[in-house]
């Protein structure tokens, strides 16, 4: 395989090889067919903060434990799982990590969009071969679902609601019957045990095709929440910053992290942290992921162009970019926020002066 050092985003199965091996080795609970480890071990992998066979398992998802338990139990009982929520709430993240723990790989993926076709869901044809030799197995181009059914592995579908409704309907019988029929070959592919689907969707976005009731019924749905408290969100952000950023030895005071997270939370929820004041919200989606990338941006700026320490300068430079996604609609709330909230906080004056 290609040199892993040059890869931008490593495959999870490579990144967490040690952890996964350790969990498999010490695994003792009941395992559903074709799962690499028991549901309890999957839970440990996701929640982390535990040592198994000398290997520290890092936390992958920081949030409500019962949410993760419900996701795993769903997949263990052979129900399809749908993760919904606002962008930046770790839907894709959680789906990936579940797939790598359960099936040992993350290769089966369908990226949903309005251009997704039936071939992406079921199967396609190599037309040259088809015309030359007529319908035969080698001419079949298997979809991700087809392959995962054959292998008894997890298949992920991202942005399910971006897929046009007609194409979504292909999933209806697939999920009930767990089989794909190829009429041209007079053949049917039945899913092997261990096959399941994890889908993510963002129903609130524009340009989506909301799932029909019939399709929804075939999934267990988990709503991924925003972190419920400032503290929780700060913890998540801090953790991700530790893990993700280049080793630039840049100092980032907790105070700055808290500040950015608080600004995002307040603009997101429409009310100040102490619940005393109502604020107009921005159209831009200020999720935890957004906060993480904004602060990463600050770290790099401080490292390359600053003094090795994240200060109000870096924050003031990056904030507007994150908040003003739609100039027309976001300017007003942002200006109001600066005037009514930032200006009124005595220890935020440094930021106010720079903005």
């Amino acid at each position: 395989m290609t040199d892993t050092k040059n890869i931008l985003k490593q495959r999870l199965e490579d990144k967490y090889q040690d952890e996964l091996n350790a969990l498999i080795k010490t695994d003792s609970g009941w395992k559903p067919d074709n799962w690499k480890m028991s549901p309890q071990s999957v839970l440990q992998f996701i929640l982390g903060n535990v040592e198994v066979n000398g290997v520290t398992i890092s936390p992958k998802y920081i949030g409500h434990k019962n949410l993760v338990e419900t996701a795993i139990a769903t997949l263990a009982t052979q129900r399809a799982l749908l993760l919904t929520g606002m962008p930046g709430t770790a839907k894709t993240w959680l789906a990936e990590h579940l797939a790598v723990a359960i099936s040992g790989n993350t290769k089966h993926l369908i990226q949903g969009s309005s251009a997704t076709t039936e071939e992406d869901i079921l199967f396609g044809w190599n037309y040259a071969s088809l015309i030359a030799k007529g319908p035969h197995q080698e001419a079949l181009v298997e979809s991700a679902i087809y392959k995962s059914m054959q292998g008894g592995e997890i298949c992920r579908i991202e942005e399910l609601s971006r897929i046009p409704a007609m194409i979504q309907d292909n999933l209806l019988s697939l999920l009930s019957e767990k089989l794909i029929v190829v009429p041209e070959l007079d053949n049917e592919i039945r899913a092997h045990k261990g096959f399941n689907i994890i889908a993510t969707s963002n129903d609130k976005d524009k340009g989506t095709f909301p799932l029909s009731d019939a399709l929804k019924r075939r999934f267990n749905v988990i709503q991924m929440p925003f972190p419920s408290s400032l503290e929780e969100e700060v913890n998540i952000v801090r953790y991700k910053l530790d893990v993700e950023t280049l080793p630039l030895s840049v100092e980032i005071p907790v105070k700055e992290i808290e500040r950015v997270v608080q600004i995002f939370r307040e603009l997101r929820s429409g009310v100040t942290e102490d619940s005393h004041q109502k604020i107009n919200t921005t159209q831009s989606n200020l999720s935890t992921a957004e906060a993480i990338s904004t602060l990463e941006h600050c770290i790099y700026m401080a490292g390359f162009f600053g003094e090795g320490r994240v200060t109000a300068n870096e924050i003031a430079a990056t904030l507007p970019g994150a908040i003003l996604k739609d100039i027309e609609k976001d300017s007003k709330p942002w200006e109001e926020y600066k005037k009514l909230v930032i200006a009124k906080r005595p220890d935020w004056q440094d930021l106010k002066n720079l903005l």
């Binding site: 009941w30 549901p39 309890q40 839970l43 019962n66 338990e69 419900t70 795993i72 139990a73 769903t74 263990a76 009982t77 129900r79 749908l82 919904t84 009731d213 929804k216 019924r217 267990n220 749905v221 988990i222 709503q223």
Partner: protein, 722 residues
């Protein structure tokens, strides 16, 4: 030689109930000693599990003060219910061995709240949010009943090793130990003691503690006890015996269906949620599957509330947990209420209450504590009876019915809308008021009669008249009349008198709606208004600032009624009062203004007299007095202004010469006064001011203001920064 078996239970724990059932069957005792207040003993005899439906409660109360009471609740899944049922079926005695409530009440006012449930704490430490699940997980390991009870005892001993107990607990446990010792001294072979597990370590002492020579006399007050129906909602609240339980419906399911509880409970839940979501049986099946999967993942031995909640959110409600808030009450608490046979309602009033509800087709209220409403048409005799019944319960302060406001405002309206709800706990209020009489009607009548004999204050009498009127007690009218005749003479408050008069007129006018015989109050009214008319001129001088508004309103109300022309000579009394005020009331205020107005209307004054008076007022008064005077003058309309040029010009002059400050200050009052008059009058006046003559062409509408007025308005607006 007798054998004593101590069986520790969790109050209202379905697991405990099932275990007790098995244990009692195995052991076969010939007497049960139950942790229940000893003064509940005499209602044990009337317990019959085949005629009563749980949830019910034993109510033990101080007959001298019903507020001091304690409840002993029983649900179908309570071990206590099982114990009682066993003793009923096997015909063996059951003794209540806990300290009597009478003793606790003697020492202080309320029974103290039960301690923090030790089981709850243990469960939390073990990572269980659901106590029943924890109990089942740790204690349901063997099928051997004896072993389990031993484990429980051991657990409690450890728990209480270093804990300090409250004096009440120590007292109660000492009493219970004594009761056990007494029983061992008698002829029983197998004694079963059923108590909260927490007390086990103390009760084990019965073998060791020295039996006292004579039983210690405990000071207590006399109490009565009675069975009353109870509800799951009440059981949820923490009071009475044992801590509150959070999920009565779940416990019920656990008791009835045991291993299949989840299936039944989730199905019920699905039924409720079907109101807002399209849920099929397939959903229910998937929910149960997920609950089981979660149970396995979490390494629990049985499904508990956390698994149920997560599963329902994920499968039935698309990941949205808001169903807990919206439907939580119905799903977790449930609307179940118990019932007891009618003959156990020893008090006739309780029976009568039920009879009245039944004839009004409202028995449903007794079954479920859900609010409902009922619209009554007072022209129908049945509805009239029901309305009187509702008012009677209001008089007796029985919380059954509330009238919706809008039907009150329509005086003389035949329509009434009532909001109804019955909380089974209110049963004890029925018990309480039965001291007044044997039926609701009799009790209400007696209560009112008692109050009448006791009071001399006219305000109270009028209030009682109002109540009698609404309750349909026309026979009380004579008593009330004579009372009023006596008391009005003594009253020196013109306000009270006016209030009374207004009520009397109301009753007189609308009596035929509620009473079979329309009341004859004119004689009384005559006297009272006469007195008012005598008192009013003097009262105006001595009245307080804050009472002026009230007086004005009462006078207005009176005039509104008198205007109808039904009481001509009553009006004449008031007229002479105003004449008196006009002649002798020197102050320039609301009343003199009003007096002038009324006399003008009556035509008692001639033109020149009026003009002199008005000029006098304009010249000698300051702005505040003037405005008050104008308010009185204008009450009842300004139409006459249009025809009175001289007054109009004087008024105009006065306003123009007024200080801006004062004008601005008093603008609201002026506006209010003029605002009260009909619009057509105002626009006519307006036209007159502008054009100097009346508007004969009625098609003309609002013109622009006269220059002076416009200027004035402009300057005011600028001043205000508008």
């Amino acid at each position: 030689m007798n054998e004593v078996k101590l069986l520790g239970i969790r109050h209202h724990g379905p697991g405990s109930a099932l275990r007790i059932q098995r244990m009692l069957d195995e052991y076969g005792p010939d007497i049960i000693l139950l942790e229940a207040p000893a003064d509940a003993q005499h209602i044990i005899a009337s317990f019959n599990p085949y005629e009563m439906t749980p949830p019910i409660a034993g109510l033990i109360y101080d007959p001298k003060d019903f507020q001091r009471a304690a409840y002993f609740p029983l649900a179908a899944f309570s071990p206590e219910w099982i114990a009682l049922k066993y003793s009923f079926d096997q015909k063996i005695p059951l003794r209540c061995i806990d300290l009597p409530i009478g003793a606790i009440l003697k020492q202080k006012n309320q029974r103290s709240r039960p301690k923090l449930n030790p089981f709850y704490q243990l469960a939390k430490i073990s990572g269980f949010n659901d106590v029943e699940q924890w109990w089942d997980h740790f204690l349901e390991t063997t099928t051997d009943s004896t072993a389990i009870f031993d484990h429980i005892a051991k657990l409690m001993r450890e728990l209480r090793k270093d804990a300090t107990e409250s004096s009440e607990t120590i007292q109660r446990e000492a009493f219970m130990v004594e009761q056990i010792q007494m029983a061992t001294g008698e002829d029983f072979k197998k004694i079963a003691v059923i108590c909260g597990a927490y007390h086990l370590p103390a009760l084990e002492n019965h073998k060791n503690a020295k039996p006292s020579k004579k039983s210690v006399r405990i000071k207590m007050i006399k109490t009565d006890a009675v069975w009353i129906p109870w509800s799951y909602r009440r059981m949820k609240q923490e009071n009475g015996y044992g801590a509150g339980i959070s999920n009565p419906t779940w416990y019920h399911a656990l008791f009835e269906h045991k291993e299949e509880a989840a299936m039944y409970w989730i199905t019920e839940c699905g039924k409720t949620l079907r109101a807002v979501k399209p849920l099929s049986t397939a959903h229910t099946i998937e929910t149960i599957n997920l609950a089981r999967g979660l149970k396995n993942l979490r390494n629990k031995s049985s499904i508990g509330i956390p698994e149920l909640e997560d599963a329902i959110t994920t499968v039935m409600y698309e990941g949205d947990p808001s169903w807990k808030e919206v439907f939580g009450d119905k799903i977790f608490t449930g609307h179940q209420t118990g019932s007891i046979p009618n003959d156990l309602f020893i008090l006739p009033l309780q029976l009568d209450f039920r009879k009245m509800l039944k004839s009004g087709r409202l028995s449903k209220l007794l079954e479920e504590p859900i609010p409902m409403n009922k619209t009554l048409d007072l022209r129908t005799s049945k509805h009239l009876l029901l309305s009187c019944f509702f008012y009677q319960t209001l008089t007796l302060e029985i919380p059954l019915a509330k009238i919706q406001d809008q039907s009150i405002s329509a005086l003389g309206n035949f329509k009434e809308i009532w909001d109804l709800q019955w909380d089974p706990v209110s049963e004890w209020i029925l018990i309480q008021v039965s001291s007044y009489g044997n039926t609701i009607e009799a009790a209400a009548r007696n209560k009112i009669t008692d109050a009448l004999t006791e009071t001399e204050i006219i305000d109270d009498v009028i209030d009682l008249l109002d109540q009698s009127f609404m309750c349909g007690f026309d026979d009380l009218l004579d008593i009330i009349k004579s009372k009023l005749l006596k008391s009005y003479i003594h009253t020196d408050s013109v306000l009270s008198l006016l209030k009374s008069v207004n009520t009397l007129i109301h009753v007189q006018s609308y009596g035929h709606i509620r009473w079979s015989k329309p009341p004859e109050l004119t004689g009384l009214l005559d006297r009272m208004i006469y007195k008012v008319s005598i008192m009013l001129p003097a009262a105006i001088y001595s009245i307080d600032e804050d009472e002026i508004e009230e007086l004005k309103q009462l006078i207005n109300q009176l005039y509104f009624t008198l205007q109808s022309g039904r009481f001509p000579h009553l009006s004449s009394y008031m007229d002479s009062a105003w004449l008196e005020i006009y002649n002798h009331h020197i102050e320039i205020d609301y009343f003199s203004g009003r007096a002038l107005r009324i006399c003008m209307d009556l035509g008692r004054l001639d033109r020149s007299e009026i003009e002199i008076k008005i000029s006098f007022v304009f010249q000698t008064s300051d702005a505040n007095q003037m405005l008050a005077w104008l308010e009185g003058l204008f009450s009842g309309g300004i139409l006459w202004l249009i025809y009175d040029d001289i007054f109009l010009s004087q008024l105009s002059e006065w306003m123009e010469n007024m200080d801006t400050e004062i004008f601005y200050e008093n603008l609201p009052m002026l506006r209010k006064t003029f605002g009260l008059t009909p619009e057509s009058d105002r626009s006519n006046l307006y036209y007159k001011i502008k054009h100097g003559h009346l508007n004969h062409d009625s098609s003309q509408s609002n013109d622009i203001a006269s220059p002076e007025v416009a200027e004035r308005v402009d300057s005011l607006m600028q001043h205000h920064g508008l």
